[in-house]
């Protein structure tokens, strides 16, 4: 590189701050646990290296260890890392952060540096020449941090430093000399507890000296090159530390009669080539330095870091994606699903289940009882010992406990009584029951899938009717002692021609969804009050504890299979176990109508049944009457379930059956010729 005869105004490359996420985590902890409301300046450490690559700007790094008072002994650091001591002030309000007089603050730091230079403290510990100031406002709820770094450097008005000549290190020193210097430097640094950023080289002996020693020798006439660890490797311009260094040298080096004198400065840059440490990237700069005295009138300070848009404004970072634990849970769950999609089921539609609104009807309108937690995994012991208030109702607790498992769930518990056929509604209760019905109708309308999880047969009636009228998907789960039924109700299309049931049902046929049966289709008796005249064990279903887990799990997965099928609610079922391979599958598998399982044999079967045209819940007659007469119709049913048998024609059917029976018996008694049958 050619020597430059013209003098250039020095361009000092400022530091760029670089924050490790662990810094923010530690700041969060330190503010909450240690500092709390104390917003005084606290100690902080920064780190820079003189061994960075060519294309990087000069960087000062900050991580969790910045907050540690003593050096991190667990890390064996690289020898070219310099530790810088600075200050951090964490404000308690954004307002205080904003109204702080930034210029005044910077001047305070500048004056402190100038004082250290004047008093000689900086000579004893030159690392004091590099310091920084960080102001922060941390919003610990939203995990956003407003921050601003300053790297204070003093400037003297109307006086500047000029870069007279810049040489490569190799032009001044031979490789032998360079190696000697490296050796001396290693020994020099070993004598200090902390790596020294500032030093000097005595040209004659190639000894590495402290700055204090060097200035003495310089003042005695020896040729001294003043060096510093340069954070900048990018260009022929030195990094920020040289600014304050030159101020120190300008004051403490022997003055001449002239206003200015020249000093030699080494911009010390480490590099490793093929395992060997070289100083080839270092520069030797001839600097023109003016005289300054201790009584300089005004010491200007510069050094606030510019933001990403090169403006003199603070920076803001939103760390909620990494620090907000709820968001972390959400992204972990989402990742799990994505992995399922990438690795196993590429055709799966992840969004469709996410967007479903599910209504879970169950929990018998009571508070959590002591026997529940061991069988019902959503409840814990604490839930059963709180008082009788509405907050302890199972549905409320269930929604709360879901949030404990996954905070991102959108769950709400509703306390509601579901009116049932055969459970008489007296006049005084009429308006309350009407409201309950209205609330249930509204809930069903608002949701996409209804899960029926009650423990009585008749309580499933009303939701079945409403859901059938609204054409919603219903997944029904019922438990016996050691057997369970999980099924999906058929969903009508609304088109009466399509919905009309075929007369010639064949057992092996596939049944389209709008012809599939509901929970009540297989019964010829209307649901009535099953709790009357029952003993305690008959009133509540006593089930094997594991049963509810199995049935619920199957109910959810059946729902998943329905949703993944391209036809969704309209997916048909098949009719017998053998034809599984022939039927249409979703990417998650078959979509049966019913799953009936038996714990005593650990088996299950997958029957499918057509709807019953005289069904007391989903038949055309019932749905039409419900749509026409609304609550009045329902009231009649609640007060007398046999009314259902009347309208559906079940009554007639049963009467016809009874008559057939009578004839049958008569025939037998009159004739002995059995072969007539």
């Amino acid at each position: 590189m050619e020597t430059n005869c013209e003098k250039d105004l020095f361009k000092f490359l400022p530091f760029s701050s670089c924050i490790n996420p662990s810094f923010w985590f530690e700041l969060n902890r330190v503010k909450l646990d240690d500092y709390r409301l104390d917003d005084d300046f606290k100690n902080l450490k920064g780190f820079y290296s003189n061994c960075s690559s060519n294309d990087l700007p000069p960087i000062m790094n900050f991580d969790y260890s910045s907050f540690q008072e003593t050096n991190d002994k667990t890390k064996n650091g690289h020898i070219s890392t310099i530790i810088i001591n600075g200050k951090i002030k964490i404000f308690n309000t954004i307002n205080e952060f904003n109204v702080l007089d930034k210029n005044k603050l910077l001047d305070e730091f500048g004056n402190a540096i100038w004082n250290d230079i004047k008093t000689g403290r900086a000579l004893d510990d030159p690392n004091l020449l590099i310091r920084f100031c960080l102001i922060v406002f941390a919003n610990l709820k939203s995990y956003t941090f407003h921050y601003w770094f300053a790297f204070p450097a003093i400037t003297f008005p109307l006086k500047s430093y000029y870069q007279l000549k810049t040489n490569k290190f190799t032009e001044i020193f031979t490789s032998e000399q360079s190696n000697k210097i490296i050796e001396n430097m290693t020994n020099f640094q070993l004598k200090n507890e902390h790596h020294q950023s500032f030093f000097a080289i005595e040209f004659e002996t190639l000894n590495v000296l402290t700055v204090k020693e060097a200035i003495d020798r310089h003042n005695l006439g020896k040729r001294i090159l003043f060096g510093f660890y340069d954070p900048n490797s990018q260009s022929n311009h030195p990094g920020w530390p040289l600014r304050n260094y030159l101020a120190l040298l300008a004051l403490k080096c022997k003055k001449t009669d002239e206003e200015k004198r020249n000093l030699e400065v080494i911009s010390f840059r480490d590099r490793y080539h093929g395992g060997a440490r070289t100083l080839d990237h270092s520069l030797v700069i001839l600097v023109e330095v003016f005289n300054i005295s201790e009584d300089e009138e005004k010491v200007n300070t510069i050094g606030w870091e510019r933001n990403e848009k090169s403006q003199l404004h603070p920076r803001v970072v939103n760390m909620s994606g990494s620090m907000n634990t709820e968001k972390l849970a959400e992204s972990a769950v989402s990742l799990n699903l994505k992995l399922m999609k990438w690795r196993i089921a590429p055709d799966i539609n992840l969004d469709i289940i996410k967007n479903q609104k599910c209504l879970l009807l169950g929990s018998d309108n009571s508070k959590v009882s002591y026997s529940n937690p061991v069988r019902q995994s959503l409840f814990v012991f604490q839930d059963s010992i709180s008082g009788e208030s509405k907050d302890n109702h199972k549905s409320i607790k269930a929604a709360e406990n879901l949030k404990l498992i996954y905070p991102g769930v959108n769950a709400k518990g509703v306390v509601l009584s579901i009116p049932m056929p055969g459970h008489y509604v007296g006049d005084n209760l009429r308006s309350k029951v009407k409201d309950d019905v209205k609330q249930l109708e509204q809930l069903i309308k608002e949701h996409d899938v209804i899960f029926l999880l009650m423990d009585t047969r008749e309580s499933r009636w009303l939701p079945t009717v409403i859901a059938a009228a609204e054409k919603k998907l219903v997944i029904n789960s019922a438990l016996g002692f050691d057997s369970y039924l999980v099924m999906r109700h058929g969903v009508k299309t609304g088109d009466p021609d399509k919905d009309e049931l075929p007369k010639n049902f064949q057992p092996n046929q596939q049944i389209p969804s709008n012809h599939l049966g509901c929970y009540f289709c297989n019964d010829i008796v209307a649901p009535g009050n099953s709790t009357v005249d029952r003993t305690l064990d008959q009133q509540c279903t006593v089930s094997r504890p594991g049963l509810s887990m199995v049935a619920s799990a199957l109910a959810v997965e059946l729902f998943a299979n329905v949703m993944q099928h391209p036809l969704r609610l309209q997916v048909p079922s098949f009719s017998s176990n053998e034809s599984i391979s022939g039927c249409e599958e979703s990417c998650l598998g078959i979509v049966p109508h019913q799953i009936r399982g038996y714990l005593h044999s650990f088996s299950n079967i997958l029957p499918a049944s057509q709807a019953f045209d005289k069904c007391t819940a989903c038949s055309n007659e019932i749905i039409q009457m419900y749509k026409k007469d609304g609550f009045d119709f329902l009231l009649k049913v609640f007060n007398d379930p046999t009314y259902l048998e009347d309208i559906t024609g079940l009554k007639e059917l049963k009467t016809a059956l009874d008559q057939t029976e009578t004839d049958f018996v008569t025939e037998l008694s009159d004739s002995e010729e059995f072969e007539n049958f």
């Binding site: 670089c18 662990s22 990087l56 064996n76 990494s322 992995l339």
Partner: protein
Amino acid sequence: MSQSTIPRSVFNQNIIEIYEKSIKLGDTWQLIKVNEDVYYLEKKDQKFINNEILTLIFHIIYSESYNVPVLYLNMFKSNGSIAKYNDIYSFFNLNNLKNEERDSDLILTQQEHPILFKPFYYMHPCKTSQWMSATKIGENDNFNFTLKWLSFVFSALRIPLDIKYAL
């Protein structure tokens, strides 16, 4: 196919050896001691891309469940915000992988760091012993398992590793 795994003691020896070589070569690996038994290697790399300072951190940690080394990495901007999936994937050119390749070990997924308990990205170690045994060269028992593993992993991510480590 035989499984290649190493006990923690061998892993610790391996990384101490790598660390010592790193010092000699002027590389920047750091050896971090968590306690008497647990050590890991850390390397930091900074790049200036699109006017942004990007910092990459690599950790070589021992996986107790799979008995192999596992790579944890993180990438963040100068303000401390951690890179998102898309950024990581495009940085390492993983977006262009075909489906079969996707299936392999090269997937980087987000995971809580086992020692620092912070969100990091890692390369799942489930297939490591499988492909390590498939690449066994000779019966030399003295080879540094972790170094060999590292050379494969880094070359897959196109991160340079000085060839002199092998000497």
